[in-house]
């Protein structure tokens, strides 16, 4: 592997990893804010417990997002210095604004929320979680503006060989960003919904298994209490789980609808902005209208600039045209039509320029790795759809107040937490890999500024050796693997501990409280 390939693996791995934590932070943050608001409004104990329990899991996850986020910012300069030089004038601005206007707010206010339970007036304390979680959504907007500019560079001119911003309004209202933002945010809420659903299901099932909750002849729940296993398996405990479960299922279903609608809008832009990505998503060699359900090829034949060995096994006629053009007849261009167009427009070979390193003068392959784009696209849709169906089924199964007494469904519910996470990752891998060989994709249909593009091969740091890049890749991958185990172990421990894990005061005797009122309500 050379520097470029290592740098790409590193960016891919660190970004996908970072984005395991981010959606849960975004989705769960606002959910916790809503729970605390419900407590503030109604004064009901179950909402306080929900806030504390989900808030605890939120924080265990949040810190990993913070820790891995710094890598994201640093590696543009470290591993992609030519990219940074070329795009800095445009791309740097949203990143700097993210830090100054959003991430500061999120970090500082979250500190206030965590430690402020007994230091702030209730109303202000409630405001801190709202501001922090809204800031995380604001943060996502800035990052997606930056990413969308790589997919669809607008508001920009090339001056002295670098991209310069000429229209900030265009950059910050990029139509790609405006559809990617809801898609990503709904995707994040789908993750939070699945998380609430899976964990609450697990607890309700355990209550049934322990004989605490039973059902009557009509299948309706009879809520019980357990005095032996600690105070937190009382009737309030039941309320926490059933409400969390049903909120989670509802959030997951609504999110899926949002994801689907915004995804549809995205596909329609993609067909104009990056037609090759759409063709590669379908493994469509020839023009057509059908959405492929299964295509096969001899995989090792790929890598070349050809698309002749893909055989469509089964496709739904008209569906691709609907996705792209809202009708069933307009043909969507296939790879074999697009390749000559790209070659004519951008050349068949990379320029013989030292900035391309070893790749200077080599042939350009405009075809993304189709196995990745094709299956990435399908995995995203399948996992997203499955989550939505599962959420609907969950609502139906729990309509009489509790979960069925079935170990297997309970396991499926817990496993289902991974589905929306996987869907998010698959979608991002698809859209980023589908942009190749460009790091900044050209705009074929927008005359005037279509010189704004950059090949990934030109973006990597020329001064950094493969050895250095490999060192950081190995270091980060091992640390990330280790920390993922730590995070998951902690999450499981806190989940198994139930509400008491986040509210130790439930275990203690509340009567002898007066003597140590000075003790911090929360401390590291």
């Amino acid at each position: 592997m050379d520097v470029l390939e290592i740098a790409r693996w590193q960016f891919g791995i660190t970004t996908v990893y970072h984005f395991l934590m981010v959606p849960l932070t975004i989705g769960l943050g606002l959910t916790v804010a809503v729970m605390q608001t419900a407590w503030h409004r109604t004064g009901k104990e179950e909402f306080l417990r929900m806030t504390k329990f989900w808030g605890k899991l939120f924080l265990i996850n949040f810190i990993m997002g913070v820790a891995t986020g710094i890598v994201q910012e640093f590696q543009f300069g470290m591993a992609w210095s030519e990219y940074s030089r070329f795009v800095g004038d445009v791309f740097g601005a949203p990143l700097a604004m993210e830090a100054l206007l959003a991430f500061f707010l999120e970090s500082v206010l979250l500190g206030l929320w965590i430690f402020g339970w007994d230091r702030l007036p209730k109303r202000i304390h409630l405001a801190t979680i709202w501001i922090a979680s809204l800031a995380s959504i604001f943060s996502a907007y800035f990052i997606l503006v930056a990413n969308s500019w790589m997919q669809h560079p607008v508001g920009t001119e090339i001056v002295d060989g670098r991209a310069t911003m000429v229209d900030a309004w265009a950059v910050f209202t990029n139509n790609t960003a405006l559809v990617t933002f809801p898609h990503t945010i709904f995707g994040a809420f789908a993750v939070a919904g699945g998380f609430l659903l899976g964990i609450s299901w697990f607890h309700l099932y355990k209550r049934r298994q322990a004989g605490i909750d039973t059902v009557d002849a009509a299948g309706k729940v009879i809520v019980g209490e357990s005095g032996t296993l600690g105070k937190n398996r009382d009737k309030v405990d039941y309320q926490v789980w059933i409400k969390s479960l049903r909120i989670g299922a509802a959030v997951a279903m609504v999110s899926f609808m949002g994801v689907a609608l915004s995804g549809h809008a995205q596909a329609q832009l993609m067909i104009q902005q990056q037609p090759m990505k759409m063709a590669a998503a379908e493994a469509a060699c020839h023009d057509g209208t059908g959405f492929s359900l299964l295509s096969v090829s001899d995989l090792r034949g790929g890598g070349a600039t050809t698309c002749d060995n893909v055989v469509g096994v089964f496709e739904i006629p008209g569906l691709l045209s609907f996705l792209a053009h809202d009708n069933f007849t307009t043909e969507v261009k296939g790879v074999n039509t697009l390749l000559p167009e790209y070659q004519e427009k951008y050349g068949t070979h990379l320029p013989d320029d030292p900035m391309y390193g070893e790749r200077a003068g080599s042939e350009i392959n405009y075809l993304p790795v189709m196995e990745v784009t094709y299956w990435g696209f399908r995995l995203m849709i399948t996992l997203g759809g499955l989550s939505a169906v599962a959420a609907a089924v969950a609502l139906w199964l729990t309509r009489k107040g509790t979960v069925p007494h079935s170990k297997w469904i309970s396991r499926l519910a817990v496993l289902g937490i991974l589905a929306p996470l996987g869907g998010n990752s698959a979608g991002w891998i698809f859209t980023e890999m589908g942009r190749q060989p460009f790091v900044v994709a050209p705009n074929p249909s927008f005359q005037g500024i279509d010189q704004v593009f950059m090949y990934t091969a030109a973006a990597v740091s020329p001064g950094v050796s493969a050895g250095e890049m490999l060192f950081s890749l190995i270091a980060l991958v091992s640390i990330y693997a280790f920390l993922l185990v730590v995070e998951v172990v902690l999450l499981i421990r806190y989940v198994r501990g139930g509400i008491g894990s986040a509210m130790p005061e439930l275990h203690e005797h509340p009567d002898d409280g007066d003597k140590d009122t000075d003790v911090l309500s929360f401390a590291y």
């Binding site: 265990i60 810190i63 913070v66 820790a67 710094i70 910012e73 640093f74 543009f76 300069g77 470290m78 030089r85 795009v87 800095g88 004038d89 445009v90 740097g92 601005a93 700097a96 604004m97 830090a99 100054l100 206007l101 500061f104 970090s107 500082v108 206010l109 500190g111 206030l112 702030l120 001056v159 310069t164 911003m165 900030a168 355990k206 322990a210 600690g230 937190n232 001064g463 050796s465 050895g467 250095e468 890049m469 060192f471 950081s472 270091a475 980060l476 730590v486 421990r493 806190y494 198994r496 501990g497 139930g498 008491g500 130790p504 140590d516 000075d518 911090l520 309500s521 401390a523 590291y524």
Partner: protein, 340 residues
């Protein structure tokens, strides 16, 4: 004079100053976890003096990095790619440190807590040293070619300024943290911290002062003599007050020393943002490394609104958590017991 690039050069200096001032004491507290705290209770007191604020402090680093990317892409690209290996270590350090802050208290055994303490200690040390080395090299020069790329191997950047800058920030963080503990705790910790500050303050501040003097001499900067003089004055003031045990004034003195020192360093380096040690013609300067006036103007408007706001709510946070943290305030540790 390029007005907007100069303004942004100043703003980036302000961001680094803000970062070193704020994260200075939480990096220092991190290093004191293994060297100063006597027992588990004291370690938890230390941790909780910075608990609510360290994450917000760290955002100054992220903002400084992102602002450099936006305002001086060439500076950002050359500096970060040239220092690839040390910055990788800084990232590893910051990752472990952040996670350890949050996860330490969730450990069930003292052995695991001890492991996280090492992560906090080493993470704080490596991050402080690395950031110091990076800033020292940025103000004294790196082996860059005409394109701004490193000439030489992965360690071609290494020289005595890297060591001096690293030491300067580590030592400053330690003394700053001790002064901070004087304001934030009571009892044994407070008393011992005060004694250490009085004894070690001049030694701890010498490397940073030496770095500032070196940059001023290298650039023969007359203007920078003013902030340099202020820094030396603040050092003497802080030392004098430390011997009289005026904790608040010591802390203020240290802050003025740091900010004046950073001002002297950046003023002397101006208009270079990153000199090349290969050829002065390859120097990155405020004019040849900056973004366009359009972008800088946009960013200036955002900063004019955003930075005061950040300062306001961050200051409010320190006000909310102004109470001293003592051993009596630390709740008992609770192990999480599975109910299912």
């Amino acid at each position: 004079m390029d007005f907007l690039p100069t303004l942004w050069f100043i703003l980036i200096a302000v961001l680094w100053g803000g970062y070193l001032f704020l994260e200075g004491f939480d990096l220092g507290v991190g290093m004191l976890m293994k060297t100063f705290a006597k027992n588990e209770k004291q370690r938890r007191v230390l941790l909780n003096t910075v608990g609510p604020v360290w994450d917000g402090n760290e955002v100054w680093l992220i903002t400084a990095g992102a602002a450099t990317f936006a305002a001086f892409p060439y500076w950002y690209a050359s500096l970060f790619s040239t220092l690839y290996v040390p910055l990788t270590l800084v990232l590893v350090a910051l990752i472990f440190r952040a996670v350890a802050f949050e996860y330490r208290g969730k450990a069930h055994t003292l052995a695991v807590r001890n492991a996280w303490d090492w992560a906090i200690f080493l993470g704080s040390f490596v991050a402080a040293f690395g950031v110091g080395a990076m800033l020292a090299l940025s103000t004294t020069g790196l082996p860059l070619n005409a394109n701004g790329d490193r000439v030489g191997g992965p360690f071609a950047w290494f020289n005595m300024y890297a060591v001096l800058g690293g030491l300067a920030v580590v030592a400053f963080c330690l003394i700053h943290a001790l002064a901070f503990l004087g304001l934030k705790t009571d009892g044994d910790i407070r008393a011992r911290a005060a004694r250490l500050v009085a004894r070690w303050l001049p030694v701890a501040l010498t490397p940073l002062a030496a770095w500032a003097v070196a940059v001023v001499l290298l650039n023969r900067s007359v203007v920078a003599l003013a902030p340099l003089g202020l820094a030396v004055g603040a050092l003497l003031f802080a030392w004098f007050r430390a011997r009289r045990n005026n904790e608040g004034l010591v802390f203020i003195g240290l802050g003025v020393f740091l900010l004046a020192g950073v001002a002297a360093i950046f003023t002397a380096a101006y208009p270079n943002v990153l000199p090349s040690t290969i050829d002065a013609a390859f120097n990155l300067t405020v004019s040849n490394a900056s973004s366009t006036p359009y972008t800088l103007k946009l960013m200036s408007i955002v900063a004019a609104f955003g930075l005061p706001l950040v300062l306001a709510y961050q200051a409010w946070t320190y006000w909310v958590f102004r109470k001293r943290v003592t051993e009596e305030h630390i709740p008992e540790a609770h192990n999480v017991t599975p109910i299912v």
